[in-house]
């Protein structure tokens, strides 16, 4: 009788130990990076610089949480930048601004996130009902929402004059940047959703075996749409907050974020194939990327090379993930 493929008790062989350690690698890498840069460049480890990094990673953190659920399910969302653009303009035009007489304050923030959630809903419905792959749908939604943002922007981007919103975007509470506080709250929310709700657990299930989930009769489409809505909601929040920081609504408010977010999520350990990873991992990845970027600037590397580095990181991580799964008959498109 042929013995089946046994995975022995964990930790009993070097290979198994390596398996155990793998999820911790991104965190270890982050710690090593911090130490490395701290030693190489004295200016790096100051509290001033660290809070700056925290402030700069706030928006990416918010985006990463939203994107994580979509990627956990095995889909992808390329529309972040367009969503941010649309919500940025919506936000800028609904709070006290230079273009119209509205002064909705916090409700403006709510409206912007609602717009983001609506765009996410659109993406989710299109991909589940029309059965068009998510990369195609979100590419289209990116384009459409970017166009809508352009329309809203008109000749002159609206300036934000609401002092409370500007304080939210620029200010600090007890030395901690406000935006970073929001980001931490979002990460916690994401973690709770992922580990304690059906939305989170079913996202893992969908990523790990969607055909099985459908076979068993689970409401897969419902949770897929929810993931896109959540990603859109957080994208809207991010767009509004970034606008609060820079003081105007602008179509380029999300420039470069799509790429950076996917890179961050991927190097944190969330697999692009779905079913593996999570919110905390994505947070680690985001911080790692932020520190890497900051460190590179400190050390004198061309900031334009960032995009190239990000691309290389995505490729290397994908390689690491799929290499052990190679199989002659595996059809990959």
């Amino acid at each position: 009788m042929m013995p089946a493929d046994h995975q022995g008790p964990v930790g009993s062989t070097p290979a198994a130990t390596a398996q155990e350690l793998r999820p911790w690698t991104p965190l270890l890498a982050l710690i090593v990076l911090c130490l490395g840069f701290g030693l190489a460049e004295p200016g790096f480890a100051t509290s001033e610089n660290l809070w700056t990094i925290a402030d700069r990673s706030a928006i990416p953190l918010i985006l990463a949480v939203g994107t994580t659920f979509v990627i956990l399910q095995g889909s992808i969302d390329l529309s972040i930048e367009g969503v941010m653009a649309t919500s940025s303009l919506t936000f800028a035009m609904s709070v006290f601004n230079s273009r119209n007489g509205l002064d909705l304050g916090v409700f403006g923030l709510g409206l912007a996130t609602l717009v983001g959630a609506g765009l996410g809903l659109l993406s989710g419905l299109l991909t589940t009902c029309l059965r068009v792959p998510s990369f195609m749908v979100t590419l289209g939604v990116w384009s459409t929402s970017a166009g809508i943002a352009l329309l809203l922007s008109g000749d002159q981007p609206p300036l934000i004059k609401d002092p409370m919103m500007r304080a939210l975007g620029l200010g600090r509470s007890l030395a901690v940047p406000n935006l970073f506080l929001v980001a931490v709250a979002v990460v916690l929310l994401g973690y709770v959703l992922q580990s304690y709700t059906r939305f989170g657990r079913y996202s893992m299930v969908i990523g790990g075996g969607e055909d099985l989930a459908r076979l068993l009769g689970l409401p897969v489409d419902r949770y897929k749409v929810l993931a896109f809505v959540f990603a859109g909601f957080l994208g809207g929040l991010a767009g509004a907050l970034e606008s609060a920081r820079i003081g105007l609504g602008h179509v380029d408010v999300g420039g470069g974020q799509m790429f950076a977010t996917i890179t961050a999520v991927v190097i944190g350990g969330t697999s692009l194939g779905g079913g593996r990873g999570g919110v905390l991992q994505s947070a680690v990845g985001t911080l790692t990327l932020a520190i890497l970027t900051d460190g590179m600037v400190f050390v004198g590397i061309n900031p334009y090379a960032q995009k190239a580095v990000q691309g290389a990181l995505i490729l290397l991580t994908a390689l690491g993930a799929t290499w052990p799964l190679r199989h002659r008959l595996r059809i990959v498109k």
Binding site: M1, M2, P3, A4, D5, H6, Q7, G8, V10, V192, S195, Y196, T197, R198, R201, M204, V205, G207, G208, G209, L212, A213, R214, L215, L216, G217, L218, G275, R276, R328, L329
Partner: protein, 504 residues
């Protein structure tokens, strides 16, 4: 007599013209274990899949405790009280054991929409305890061994007890086929435990296991349930005879003529092995010989064929073609060496549905139809036309999409794809007669005999013992990955029973 817990009446199901289930009627009583046996393609798996909600029957009724049901999916079947443990593992590897057990039925462990993990694990542990425990509900499913995962699947089926108020009906589809002796003992022990609180339908190709645990045994042949026996009143020999009892086609009954085997050894296989599939396989295939492999599904024959075609990699042993050892990295390598392969899954792996008959038939050998770098369309059309006539392929035109043809004609196209090649030496046929009607079968039988006479070496894995015996000059019997019997061409012809008893 008490109301049977499960009653099936007149269930029928066809796939693309093949009758997988033909008016099946069975009854399962409370706390009864029914063993279901039959050859490949007899319909056992299909029946279980219909009962479990994976497939919909074309007609017939399923009645659970007096209420007719028609489950749309597995969750619906579970709500009605039927749970299934698939032969192929149906667990999600990246979540915890507890989540797999309670998948779709988490409501009782939720508090205000949030997971109460302690309660979750407790509920799961309850099911695992019914099986003797030993597996932690919080473990990640991917870290479990195969046998442990099997137990989790059974636990999931058992969890039905909590959702309905009755004892569940548990369907076990070949639960022991992938396990070693220890694992098998565990599962059989579990069945003994389960029968005190559930009704069980147990499918296995190992007759000794079936006889050991079942109360009654139902024999399926060609989609029908032909006999039901009480365990006490039948023997394994009886069951074997019943399994073979389908009407034999005239072609099948005709024994293969004595071969004039050339001395040339086309293919030589030495101690070939592939982890978890087969081990220690050695044989020689001569020019003009038809070598048949008789086996029940999952015994390694199919995997062996795929190894010889470069689809799967061997972990041990050697493949020698025309005296030269070869390494096959992909199917293209095998084709260059003159090997052809007719796969079992015609629709997925045999034809390219959207391409026409002509383009399908020349796909493997376009390099032989070239004029310079270009395809010689005129020569191609002419060649294909002659082969369509020769093989009597029924198609409106030579450019009709292959998916529009009937199954039998599709299979002819697949066969033609290889025969068209001028350098073909070895042809591997993997369950080639699946789903073909008698007429086409007869034509293909004749074709295969013809090409063998022309000097080709043919390796055949057949669905039934009859097919293998009718066509083959020599026969290898495989069971559970090992060669359990070898009847070379030079020796005396074996009887059907002799072959079958080595298969089971």
């Amino acid at each position: 007599m008490t109301v049977p817990v499960l009653r099936v009446e007149g269930l029928s199901k066809s796939f693309a013209g093949v009758r997988a289930l033909d008016d099946v009627s069975i009854e399962v009583g409370s706390r009864e274990v029914i063993g279901l046996i039959g050859e490949n393609g007899a319909g056992k798996s299909t029946l279980l899949k219909v009962l479990a909600g994976v497939l919909r029957a074309d007609c017939g009724r399923i009645i659970v405790r007096g209420t007719p049901i028609s489950p749309a999916n597995v969750a619906a079947a579970a709500t009605s009280g039927i749970g299934i443990v698939f032969q192929e593992q149906a667990l999600l590897p990246n979540v915890t054991v507890a989540e797999n057990i309670l998948l779709g039925h988490e409501r009782r462990a939720l508090r205000g929409g949030f997971y109460d993990w302690r309660k979750f694990y407790a509920l799961a542990a309850k099911q695992l305890d019914k099986l003797g425990g030993g597996i932690s509900p919080s473990a990640l499913t991917a870290t479990l061994s195969f046998a442990e995962r099997q137990l989790v699947e059974i636990a999931r089926a058992l969890a039905i007890e909590e959702h309905t108020r009755h004892e569940p009906i548990i369907l076990l589809d070949e639960p022991t086929s992938m396990l070693d002796a220890n694992g098998t003992e565990t599962v059989l022990g579990q069945i003994e435990r389960l029968r005190r609180r559930a009704s069980i339908v147990f499918v296995s190709h190992r007759l000794d296991e079936v006889v050991r645990v079942s109360d009654r045994i139902c024999v399926m042949v060609d989609g029908r349930c032909v006999a039901t026996r009480n365990r006490a009143t039948c023997s394994i020999a009886d069951l074997e005879r019943l399994m073979l009892g389908h009407k034999l086609d005239a072609e099948c009954q005709q024994q293969a003529p004595s071969p004039t085997l050339g001395p040339k050894v086309r293919l030589s296989v030495r101690a070939l092995g592939r982890n978890n599939s087969y081990r220690g396989v050695s044989f020689e295939l001569h020019a003009g010989e038809v070598l048949g492999i008789a086996e029940l599904a999952g015994s390694g024959g199919e995997s062996l064929c795929r190894t010889l075609f470069g689809v799967e990699r061997a972990d041990a042993g050697e493949i020698v073609i025309d005296g030269q050892p070869v390494r096959l990295r992909e199917p293209a390598d095998a084709v260059r060496l003159g090997i052809g392969y007719v796969p079992a899954e015609r629709r997925l792996e045999g034809i390219v549905g959207g391409l026409g008959v002509r383009e399908n038939m020349t796909l493997a050998h376009l390099d032989e139809l070239r004029r310079g770098p270009f395809i010689d369309l005129a020569a191609e059309r002419k060649l294909v036309k002659s082969w369509i006539e020769r093989m009597h392929i029924t198609t409106p035109t030579a450019d009709t999409p292959a998916q529009d043809l009937s199954g039998g004609n599709q299979q002819k196209v697949v066969l033609g794809k290889w025969l068209i090649g001028r350098k073909l030496k070895i042809l591997i046929l993997d369950h080639p007669f699946r789903g073909l009607d008698v007429g086409i079968k007869a034509e293909m039988f004749a074709l295969i005999r013809e090409i063998a006479r022309a000097g080709l070496g043919v390796l055949l894995v057949g669905d039934t013992v009859e097919e293998v015996m009718a066509l083959s000059h020599s026969i290898i019997v495989m069971k559970d990955g090992l060669v359990s019997g070898h009847f070379p061409a030079s020796a005396a012809k074996p009887s059907r029973l002799q072959v079958l008893e080595r298969m089971v």
